[in-house]
């Protein structure tokens, strides 16, 4: 089932000296239960596309539809709270909140009671494979892999069906990279999430179902992979 449709989306922004066209009439679709990779060199526009998919901004032209509804018509704060969650390369955890507090944050924003949010957080932290001890640790006390798992748990806490990951393994060693990719893959195939990963790592791309390549703001190619490999 089609979850996201990107329809002739263009995006440009102004710098001090010139206007940069980050995306040029990009069109693509993302289905639920699949894991996607958006690949491209630095500055190709992949992070911009992810930000637009996350509702952090609106396209200059064209439209993005989520479950058939344009992001222009959506309450984009609510969309990020309840539908799409983002996982970043640098984890972007609150430095002075524990792992559990970081995970409960989106739930508390949705008005869920503290006790209920704590129970859900505990469950989610277990789900991403973190120990009980890690739950009460601050980000600076955790390894990169652990921090990324907390970030994924926090993304799951938003209770949406879309996970957007911007270079989620960029700061991780190969073992942790493999674990995180497997976790995301599991979420797509078993949890029926739509997982979109921005990466320029071919090893990560090898694991996804569909790859989109972006070059100079244009979507160049779509590659389908064998889901069962």
């Amino acid at each position: 089932m089609e979850m996201i449709k990107v329809d002739h989306v263009s995006y440009s922004y102004q710098t001090k000296y010139c206007t940069i066209e980050a995306l040029k009439s990009v069109t693509c679709t993302f289905e639920e239960g699949k894991m996607y990779a958006i690949m491209g060199a630095s500055g190709s526009g992949k992070s911009t596309l992810l930000s637009l998919l996350a509702g952090l901004d609106l396209p200059k032209s064209g439209d993005i539809y989520v479950e058939g509804e344009s992001t222009r018509a959506l309450n984009r704060d609510r969309y990020r709270r309840e539908t799409a969650a983002v996982v970043y390369q640098s984890f972007n955890l609150f430095p002075l909140l524990t792992a559990q507090e970081n995970v409960t944050f989106p739930m508390r924003l949705r008005g869920i009671k503290k006790k209920e949010a704590d129970e859900n957080a505990k469950r989610l932290i277990e789900k991403v494979g973190l120990s009980e001890k890690t739950r009460h640790q601050f980000p600076k006390m955790m390894s990169g892999g652990e921090q990324q798992r907390v970030a994924i748990a926090r993304a799951l806490a938003s209770d949406g069906k879309i996970i957007l990951a911007d270079e989620p393994t960029g700061n991780l060693d190969s073992e942790n990279e493999k674990n995180i990719v497997n976790l995301l893959k599991e979420l797509a195939h078993l949890g029926n999430y739509t997982v979109i990963v921005i990466t320029h790592n071919p090893e990560v791309a090898m694991e996804v179902d569909i790859i989109y390549r972006i070059k100079d703001g244009e979507l160049l190619k779509e590659e389908n992979y064998d889901y069962n490999k």
């Binding site: 992070s47 911009t48 930000s51 996350a54 952090l56 901004d57 704060d77 609510r78 969309y79 990020r80 709270r81 309840e82 969650a85 983002v86 970043y88 390369q89 640098s90 972007n92 955890l93 609150f94 430095p95 002075l96 909140l97 507090e101 944050f105 989106p106 508390r108 924003l109 949705r110 008005g111 869920i112 009671k113 503290k114 926090r154 938003s158 911007d166 270079e167 960029g170």
Partner: protein, 417 residues
């Protein structure tokens, strides 16, 4: 259900603010200390204004402004010819208090014929409404008859105070009645002063004057009578009453100009040192230099403090803005994460606003406690200071938060990566 969710959300904002201020311990302590210090400084400033205002209010009591009627060249403030109309107007003026008038008289004990005045008219007397009208006479020099008050001098009672020695010489004692023959001084321009008969009347001796310790520079009176009894005698004799001295205090020295205008309307002039000598009491000598100088000095100080007040509050507002701005700038990443997680700009504003509110209230409380116990500042001033500081500091914080609200989440998160 929806309302419950909203309530839990608001509760979460409070909890998050509380947790943040707890976790950012050193920054919180610094903010509280800055707030407390500013409250302290503001109290010193506003306390200074209050003390100046109080000083100005108390100035009329500390430095009373007195005035005396004198002749035009200012050489004489007694032995004058002050018209009854002037006396009445001074008494009726709203700007005057404690007015004291005197009239000098000659008296003799008993009734005697005009041609025998040389033998009998041997007492110097004064009619007055208050004993302070006689220079050098102190209250302790007077011994009153039982149940008699010195205030009888401002009445129409036929009572008098008499020199102890005169009483002894005439075998009189306090409480006796005595016949007094009164002559008045007649002043006429370019002519010598004359004395003329006024009345023969019976007075009760209300008290004795002991002049052994008299320190005045003028001849002390042997008899003092209420001035109004003399005024009545003048009227009875068909004469225009005149006083020979008049002095008083200005009720509200802050209204000196209004008082002077009224006295000008009355025909009273300023002293002109070069004027010709005369007996007429038609000028006014106001002793207001010390008061004016002191009042001007305090008012200048107050004006400066008032002029600086808006800048002081501007500085407070700026310090609120700068403190909050720096704290928020430091936490732009956190702000962006909150926005990325779907917290609205208003929600982020609320969390950071509550956090700052908590710190500022703690700072105000701490500063106020220190001020209250160390400086004993007036409670009202303390409340005004705390209130003023709160409003301006919060204004700074709101501007800082509003600036943060304009942050591009995409850019802030990209920088983190």
């Amino acid at each position: 259900m929806k309302n419950n969710k909203k309530m839990y959300k608001v509760m979460f904002y409070f909890e998050a603010a509380l947790l943040n201020s707890h976790r950012y311990k050193s920054k919180s302590i610094l903010s509280i200390a800055i707030c407390a210090f500013i409250v302290l400084l503001l109290n010193v400033y506003l306390g200074n204004i209050q003390s100046n205002q109080l000083q100005l209010k108390r100035l009329p009591d500390a430095i009373p402004v007195s005035a005396k009627v004198c002749n035009l060249n200012g050489s004489q403030d007694a032995g004058l010819n002050i018209k009854e109309e002037v006396i009445t107007k001074i008494q009726e003026s709203d700007y005057v208090k404690d007015a004291v008038f005197t009239i000098q008289l000659k008296m003799g004990i008993g009734e005697f014929a005009e041609e025998d005045y040389l033998e009998h008219l041997n007492l110097f007397a004064v009619g007055t409404n208050h004993y302070s009208g006689i220079s050098g006479l102190k209250k302790e020099d007077i011994t009153l008859r039982k149940n008699t008050e010195l205030s009888f001098l401002s009445s129409r009672l036929k009572e008098c105070l008499m020199d102890k020695r005169v009483m002894e010489q005439n075998d009189l004692k306090v409480g006796d009645t005595v016949i007094l023959t009164t002559y008045y001084y007649f002043y006429e321009k370019y002519k010598p002063i004359l004395i003329k008969p006024l009345q023969v009347d019976t007075y009760k001796i209300g008290g004795e004057i002991n002049l052994l310790n008299y320190t005045g520079t003028l001849v002390p009176p042997s008899v003092i009578v209420p001035i109004e009894t003399i005024q009545d005698a003048y009227h009875k004799a068909g004469l225009s009453f005149t006083a020979d001295s008049a002095s008083f205090y200005i009720k509200d020295p802050m209204k000196l100009n209004e008082f002077k205008e009224e006295m000008q309307e009355l025909g009273m002039l300023s002293v002109i040192a070069s004027a010709e000598y005369a007996y007429d009491g038609n000028a006014l000598a106001v002793r207001d230099e010390t008061f004016r100088l002191s009042a001007e000095k305090i008012e200048e100080g107050l004006a400066l403090l008032y002029h600086m007040l808006p800048f002081v509050f501007l500085i407070v507002g700026c310090s609120g803005f700068v403190t909050a701005y720096l704290l928020i700038q430091n936490r732009r990443g956190e702000y962006a994460i909150m926005r990325a997680l779907g917290n609205s700009s208003f929600g982020c504003f609320c969390i950071m606003f509550f956090e700052n509110l908590l710190l500022i209230l703690s700072g105000i409380a701490l500063g106020s406690i220190v001020v209250h116990y160390q400086m004993q500042t007036d409670f009202l001033i303390l409340m005004k200071t705390a209130g003023g500081f709160f409003v301006f500091y919060m204004l700074g914080i709101v501007i800082a938060l509003w600036t943060a609200g304009r942050l591009s989440v995409m850019n802030a998160l990209a920088k983190n990566d």
